[in-house]
Symmetry: C2
């Protein structure tokens, strides 16, 4: 069965790929808005892991709405959730038997409820899988340590291809650098350089 | 890393084993109350799948309390949940790095909340995994069809080693056959004969 996994090049979505390839032919799909070329980092990571890779360009309107919300909220949560939900809908439009993402049990955002999962499945006739949603942070960290070669550091220094990079760039262009720092608190990100 | 998976010989816990053995040395553990020898069915299934197997005898009091509740409720849900929570606590007492069960996203019972999962992990210093909690019913059915050789049928005709068999026997002994039929509505169970 063919499965498309929303992929950022980070540790969670990379670990999800390793878990799912027991059962599925995995293609890593990186969604982007055409704002930066950050998706190329995900392509490199996918190559290191040995998976097929595709990009999926999302409607720029979605990014504009999400960043407006983030600036208004003063935090990124709601905007990230909007973008992720939109990306899941979009990846359902590709021709795969199943779609998946790397959300963990302890993630606050993005988070797809059981009702949202069933709605996606019913409307699009695909299976939606979140293979790490039964794994807590500790288990994920231990598995990543064992199975992946990972670089970690502050968001702005790590080559990564999640939505955040492009949303930061959009906020900087529209509202200035300070707005980016206000919306995104410092946090550590990860980038995968291959398997261990 | 060594992992103990609560195992019934049915399709969900068997599929969970296949998924987890990507990352863990899996031992299948069947909890029982010493009421019947149904656990032997799980041992046979574990052998067919090629996994290590252990039994874990639970306190008979737990079964008595659970069946009393089921008869009072008129349905099995609350009692099954009590037994499953107790079994998870007990398996945490064995010497494994991680414990797991076969609960699916769409299961109503048993169901372990995020808070319960974190509490188990914090109190016992283990990782708790529910690898199928990111998989819906349709995905599980399709994967079982592809990867497992399964016999399905009414509960009373299928050799299975979940808690239900012993709880049925206890209710029959204490309250008669009719009480069993009242508490347990007809439903289809599965028993695994190996991999496909």
């Amino acid at each position: 069965m063919e499965l498309a996994l929303l992929y950022s090049g980070g540790k969670d979505s990379s670990l999800a790929a390793l878990l799912l390839d027991t059962f599925y032919d995995v293609t890593l799909v990186t969604a982007h808005f055409g704002v930066t070329d950050d998706w190329a980092h995900a392509k490199d990571a996918a190559g290191e892991l040995g998976y097929a890779f595709e990009t999926l360009e999302l409607d720029r309107d979605i990014a504009e709405k999400a960043t407006a919300r983030m600036v208004e909220d003063g935090y990124p949560r709601g905007g990230i959730q909007q973008v992720h939900e939109h990306a899941l809908e979009a990846v359902c439009g590709l021709d795969f038997d199943a779609i998946a993402d790397g959300t963990r049990r302890d993630d606050r955002v993005p988070s797809i409820s059981r009702a949202q999962a069933q709605s996606l499945e019913d409307r699009h006739g695909v299976d939606y899988l979140s293979p790490l949603s039964g794994f807590g942070r500790g288990a994920v960290d231990r598995l990543v340590e064992t199975h992946l070669d990972v670089e970690t550091g502050p968001s702005e220094e790590i080559p990564k291809a999640d939505y955040e990079g492009e949303l930061r760039a959009l906020i900087a262009a529209e509202h200035g650098r300070e707005a980016v720092d206000e919306v995104f608190p410092d946090h550590v990100q990860s980038y995968v350089h291959g398997r261990r």
